[in-house]
């Protein structure tokens, strides 16, 4: 599997990307990462939430409680304008980085 460092470096980008589609709650984010990566990426609660809280306190994402009939209320996270800018920047950097690494590896 992937090293913790590698995973850790990408988590912010992953979360931002998922939230770019629509607001989601914490459990959903965790599940989505696992299913979309076909089980190859798994983040524990202890890694995911500190990242969410850090991005929230930096103002990249915002959260609010939403109640739906017949369900527990849940805390939904969504991107802020600043978050969108960061996402664009991070995506650009990630692509540049992976492209650079691919060049070296001879892809």
């Amino acid at each position: 599997m992937f090293s913790a460092e590698l995973k850790k470096g990408s988590l912010e980008l992953i979360v931002l990307t998922l939230l770019d589609e629509r607001p989601r709650h914490g459990y959903e984010i965790g599940q989505l990462i696992e299913t979309r990566s076909r089980g190859q990426l798994q983040f524990r609660v202890t890694s995911l939430y500190p990242v969410l809280y850090r991005m929230e306190s930096r103002g990249w994402i915002a959260s609010r409680w939403v109640e739906r009939a017949g369900e527990h209320r849940r805390n939904y996270y969504s991107l802020t304008a600043k978050g969108r800018r960061i996402l664009a920047e991070e995506q650009r950097r990630w692509r540049a980085f992976t492209a650079a690494v691919d060049l070296v590896l001879g892809g």
Binding site: Y49, P50, V51, R58, N75
Partner: protein, 907 residues
Amino acid sequence: MPDFKRFVRENLPLPPMKRRREEKIIEELALQLADLYRAARARGLDDQQALADALGQIPDWETFASDIASAQRPNLHGAGHRAADDVDAALRRRGGARRVIADLGQDARYALRTLGRRPVFLFATVFTLALGIGANTAIFSVMHAVLLRPLPYAAPDRLVTVWTPWETEPSFNPLSAPDYRDFRDQAAVFEAWGAYTRETMNLAGRDDVVRVAGIACTPGTLEALGVAPALGRLFTTAEAEDPASRVVVVSDRLWRNRFGADPALVGREIVIDKESRTVVGIMPAAFRFPSYGTLSRADLLLPLAVESGTPDRGAYYLFTIGRLREGLALASAEAELGGVAARLARLYPHSNAQRTVRIVPLRTLVLQDAGEQLWPLMGATAVILLLACLNVAALLLARGAGRSTESAVRAALGAGRARLVRQMLTESGVIALFGGGAGLLLAWWGLAALEGTMPSSLPRLDDLRLDGTVLAFTLAATVLTGLVFGLIPAHAASRVDVAPTLRAGAPTGTPGRRQSRTLSLVMVTQFALTFVLANGAFLMLRSLWNATAIQELGDPSHVLIGGYTPDTPKRDWLQERDGFVEDLLERLAAVPGVEAAGATSRLPLMGAGWSGGVLVEGETYDPDTRRQTTYYTCVTPGWFDAMGVRLLQGRFLRPEDLSEGQLRIVVNRTFGDASWPGENPIGKRVRSNSETPWFDAVVVGVVEDVRQNGLEGRIVREIYFPFFPSFASERWVTLRTAGDPLGLVPALRRELAALDPNLALSRVMTGADLYDLAARGRRFSTLLVGLYAVVALLLIMAGVWGVMAFHVAERAHEMGIRVALGADRWRVFGIVMARGLRLVLAGVAMGLAGAAVAAKAVGSQLFGVGPLDPLSLGAVGAFLLLVAFAATLAPALRAVRVDPVTAMRAE
């Protein structure tokens, strides 16, 4: 579905933050765990497996909490933040001091958080500890003030007093003036040495006269103490020996109260005992003069002449204080003075044969038996603290049992045992700190409340306060306490066996067998300590009863006593009638309401005074034979009736017993029985034990013994002389009335002033006050030990009740099964009761051993009852059984009512 919200709240040691933020995090994480749990169940895992699966997401709650904490800090420096975070995390992982401190802070916050959610538990533990720590702080501050501080003099360790007792009777016999001069001139053991006498003096003011305590001393006395005046100077040796010098040094208190703190007092004349004297100096406020059993305020310091003192080597009236030469051992000093004493014994056999020299450290003289009084009290107080510790430990254990699932989960998920123990210790530390703080408040309040009941027999109590040393003691006691009551449950918890606790199925409330055993041991120890305390209290109570039950004087509550000191105490032992006293009593007898009036030179119960050896008919004077000490008391004829002393044989004294050429006396029962066993003492002759008898008298009456040295002192032989101006300078007027004796005070004051306006009346009290004063020390310690015993009993009742209730709850399932299988309900009742009684019986057995160990320390504090008294041991044992029975009853009845269906469904 487990209550995840509560679980997160109790396990996640979040840093302080806004309440809404905190609630959000807790709720969100709880929902996350609930989702994980539900998903795991959906995959087909059973309840326990699903729980472990969900909780497996958070292997270390502390690290998780600190990660969340650092995420709360908005990091504005873009990429830089990550490096900083990484360094932070690496440091945390790598350990070291920073980690320990961070953990400690976390643990403390966690402890505060959990405790805050259990206010009743917190109050119970803090209050229990406050009782223990408060009592210890209060008693320690007394010990510190009385025993532990050095005396307030220069080089206090080298200060000693010198006495010349008889070889056969080691007593505090003062020195005669010629002996003092010989010791001073022939031995070089002191750096400074001086002699003094105590005098009570009448100090005249503008319109009134007050009686003040004075010390007449040689300058050497003050030099030995190393004291200096605050203003002016002390007197010189030349002044001391010159009767015309008439100088005086006054105390700070007198200077402030009588002379308005006027600095110009130095150099002015004041009138003492109708004699004008020049004030040359004023002592500092802290100055105290040492004396037997106390450091007293001396308001006047007068010079004492020893060169011109009485040449009689049999007149022992000089007390001494000396500072030993540096490096000189007490024994060698005593040996050197002993050489002088032996020389004097050869030269002056009539006065000095068989007399030796004894050096007593000043400290010993001042403190007396204060140590014997206080150390057992301190011990009893420490026992209370230990009991409080054990009680809190039991509470923590019982609660810890409820948390053992939590501990097991955390242990299973990787929290180290050391970490768990540290967390529990931090919690006890927090409780201990609260307890210590509350204890300090309690001590401060308690000392103020106790101040009125403190016995005057304890020296230096006027300087009682909670100072740095006392605070340090409280802190040490607090830390020690936290360790003691924290380690017991922590030790038990650290041994939590992970597998069975998780497997057992019951999510909470099933303690390990080990915790149960520890709990039983704690209970047994508590019973044992309570037994020792209660036994001590019972014995103290019986001693108090023994000491106060006897009242040899008829109805002392109708007796008024007032003292005065005539201006010039006569030292010539003139056997003449005292016209002043006779006039005064004649006037007082005429006051309406006075049934009997008398005067005495010594009050009952108030200790030794003038005494000597007596020869009875048939005995001859022999300087080498020491006679038993006999107390000499001068009384007027009416005194026996006024004081209520019972006549056994013959008659009381009459006015003519002094004046008709033949001195006639009354003796006490002990004197009669010892001198003429089986014979009638009336008509027998006695004389003083000296070469030329200074008295020769006939016994005309025998009266009942009256205790002289406190309520518990041995009765001494006593002779009642008719009243003459004796060696004893004090006069005590005694009046008996049918009504309230204090109603006679104005009349007494008026009649005394009518005869001599320069005499001050002092120490006015009733006969009942006299007994009260004498019982004060014993009443104080009995009150304290009794209070401790009550506290101990309350603690143990609460403890037994709690532990047995816990025990019943713990075994409700088993009992349900028993009942379901057809067991008699009363058999279940019997099982619970038997367990409670087994604990108390084991405790009493251990307590008996404890009482035997404590017997030696307690024995010296008892009166009329032994330290291992079967009646007391039996009664206290039976009482404890009763207490345990009562406390076990409610839980046992609950066990009987256990519904088998409910109990088994709880599984």
